[in-house]
Amino acid sequence: MTINTLAKGGWHRDQMACFRKMEKVIVAMQDPDMGMKMRNQRLLITVIPHAMTGRDVINWLMQKYNMCEEEALHLGGMLVRYGYIYPLKEPRSLVLRADESPYRFQTPYFWTSTRWPATELDYAIYLAKKNIRKQGELMEYEKERYSVLHKRINHTWDFVVMQAREQLRASKQRRKADRIVLECQEQAYWLINRPPPGAYNILDMGLERPNNFSTRVTLNSDYYKREIEFCRRALGRNRVKSSICLEGFVKYSEQYLSHDPIMQGCLPSNPWISDDTAHWTMNTEVVPIPSRLRVERWSFSFMELLNDAMGRREFMTYLEKEFSAENLCFWQACEDIRHGENSRIVEKVEEVYKNFLAPGAARWVNIDSKTMDKTLKGIQHPHRFVMDDAQMHIYFLMKKDSFPRYLKSDLYKNMLAKAIVPQEVKKSVFPFMRRQRHSSPSPAQAVAQASEEEGRA
């Protein structure tokens, strides 16, 4: 099992794509014409050029992407967390504030994506510099890490100290403002690449996915022959015109719209919103009187009817009246074989043969002779799918014949007429607290309208 954690340098390839996208935004933000207007910001007694406020960042994002403030704050916040923009005040808090707090763009040299992975050597040099500058006054966790590194890469320690001293010397020759800026930039980089203990590690990518094309499957002749075979089969496939398929999605969504609680609410109320579980009680698997929507749904497709335990029971009652209940029983028995335990297949197949297929069987099903012959032959060596053809035949028989007649039957029509349409519940627990009952406009109005129209007609 290969788990490359971040510490070992495993880099999730696709995070790079993500970084590139963020960098595009950053570059656009700094565009001389369309980018943000930056100005000098005062930090204590020093003036830092090319800085912007949190408010500036948010306004620019809102305008550029036509987004609301909340989203701009979120996106801007991510840019700060990933180190593309860093705060000048409170540098340890990588958060975007929607006010006059000053921020600056990180130099590309210190982008996480530029120097990946951050090396131990670089971190050691950084800590050494800080140690010298602050005369040993590092933060606790930095002291610990410093001594750990000192032990681990002891052999290059002379080099580390030498580099640290050299870099400090070079920085002393800079203007104070530039020096402060560089220190801030470097600090921001290390806050992200070596977060303090307990701090949020933005670079936590979880499991590394090997994702190596050739380690899973060798691209040999077998592989290509399979691909060729697949393409040939695919080319021979029947396809349906887009206009027909896409129309199908529109129709489906329209048909199920009133059944979609998130789109149109549900009656009497959505239990998650109102804390009233009446909706669930009214729609348990078996209820004395089902709801109107539920019974309507049985008419949408044969599958909907069969998927609902009550619907299936009603359909069985109807078939019994028509003396064709053995069809549904047979279908259920076949399902049981297909989805049941391996160990019971043989015994179940025998049962099915005895009850439904054998000549003179108590509940003999009427399938065409060709399918019957094939099935009887297959039964001699029973397997999970031996009943498939017969099951399909009976399924489509019910779907094309019995199902449409059931929908026209009195049994169904009475069920529909009796079905409940729950009243929308609008009671409030406390008079001064108003609870929203629905996530969307109330469907009760639509139903009220419909029955009004029916009354008139």
């Binding site: 994702n211 396809r239 015109k241 529109v250 199920y256 979609d260 609680p261 989805h339």
Partner: protein, 349 residues
């Protein structure tokens, strides 16, 4: 599988050329029946107003990143799995079970509600029967069912408690008999880790779709093990695949920051859900009950709700404080549950 070797006159290069040529031809064929775009057909549907969806519950209790969750058919209970530094918690609302395995990436409720399946870095998928007795040591009753040669990324029961489908980092999917642990069928065709699978809601119940690091989404025949259809249009790993409620299409979420919609009858991609301002990968998707809305969870901690037909984003849901690893619609469509690396689950309605 033993290598067949090259026939006379064939070279690896010539086979590759033939394969590439056929793939191009396939794309052309697919394009021929493309007489209209989805958003054009959707012009006559009404524009959706902003959704007023809010967090209604925050479920705390995991001590670490929540990686996966699933609803029980009773519409109220759910199982979730997480990664803890030393052990793994598997939660239902009543029980907490610790399994000696880190990164439980997949979990699923059995249709009967009496058991849960889970798997991950242990390369296995196990079934744990649930009991009402809180004191019972559920971990002891854990039963190994699936055995892969790499991590298990996804699992689901088929129409009963007796069969289970798994996807794995070893590049395959597999169908198992729960009682005996026997492998019933294996599905080969992906060329990298398979990250997700979903069972088709079809009448004959015979197909499922899988997506993986090879950027492909494949549709499989469960009975024969054959790869029936394949779609390759994402620019990066596919993290999640989910069927449209009618079974005629499916959606995918990818690290390329887009979600896509594939029509199975037209055999092509028919929509891409993306925005310039969305730069982080999408890790999970699910449809609302009518299939009109697509909820997608992203690595920037947000959930975006897309209008499936018109292609625009309807809403953005804030609340999580780390990556969203899974979103799932409750069985009756009344709520969406989201699991996150911020150690919590949220229920939105």
């Amino acid at each position: 599988m033993a290598c067949q070797g090259l026939q006379k006159g064939e070279t690896l290069a010539s086979l590759k050329t033939e394969s590439d040529g056929l793939k191009k031809k396939l794309e052309v064929e697919r394009g021929k029946l493309n007489d209209v775009e989805l958003h054009q057909v959707a012009e006559k549907t009404e524009v959706l107003g902003a959704l007023s969806i809010k967090t209604r519950r925050v479920l705390k209790g995991h001590g670490a990143k929540v990686l996966c969750m699933d609803w029980c058919k009773d519409k109220r209970r759910l199982v979730s799995s997480s990664q803890v530094r030393t052990s793994t918690d598997l939660w239902t609302r009543e029980h907490g079970v610790s399994l000696p395995c880190t990164w439980v990436m997949a979990c699923a409720y059995a249709p009967s509600g009496c058991a849960v399946a889970c798997g991950g870095l242990d390369n296995k998928c196990s079934v744990i029967p649930l009991s009402l007795d809180k004191d019972e040591n559920l971990a002891a009753k854990k039963k190994s069912v699936a055995m892969h040669t790499n991590y298990v990324s996804g699992c689901t029961f088929t129409n009963s408690d007796m069969q289970m489908l798994t996807s794995s980092g070893d590049g395959t999917c597999a169908l198992w008999d729960v009682e005996s642990g026997q492998l019933l069928q294996s599905f080969h065709g992906h060329t990298a880790d398979v990250l997700s699978l979903d069972l088709a809601p079809s009448e004959t119940g015979n197909t499922f779709v899988s997506g993986g690091c090879d950027r492909k989404a494949n549709v499989w025949d469960m009975r024969s093990g054959q790869n029936i259809q394949s779609f390759e249009s994402h620019e990066s790993d596919i993290n999640c695949v989910k069927y449209y409620p009618s079974g005629d299409a499916f959606a995918s979420a990818s690290d390329d920051a887009t979600c896509r919609f594939y029509d199975l009858r037209a055999d092509r991609e028919v929509a891409v859900y993306q925005k310039d301002s969305i730069v982080f990968g999408a890790s999970t998707v699910d449809f609302s009950l009518s299939g009109r809305l697509l909820f997608a969870g992203y690595n920037d901690y947000t959930i975006n709700a897309w209008d499936v037909l018109k292609g625009n984003r309807v809403s953005i849901l804030f609340g999580h404080e780390n990556r969203v690893s899974r979103v799932k619609l409750s069985p009756d469509g009344t709520a969406i549950c989201s699991a996150s690396w911020d150690n919590t689950l949220r229920i939105w309605a």
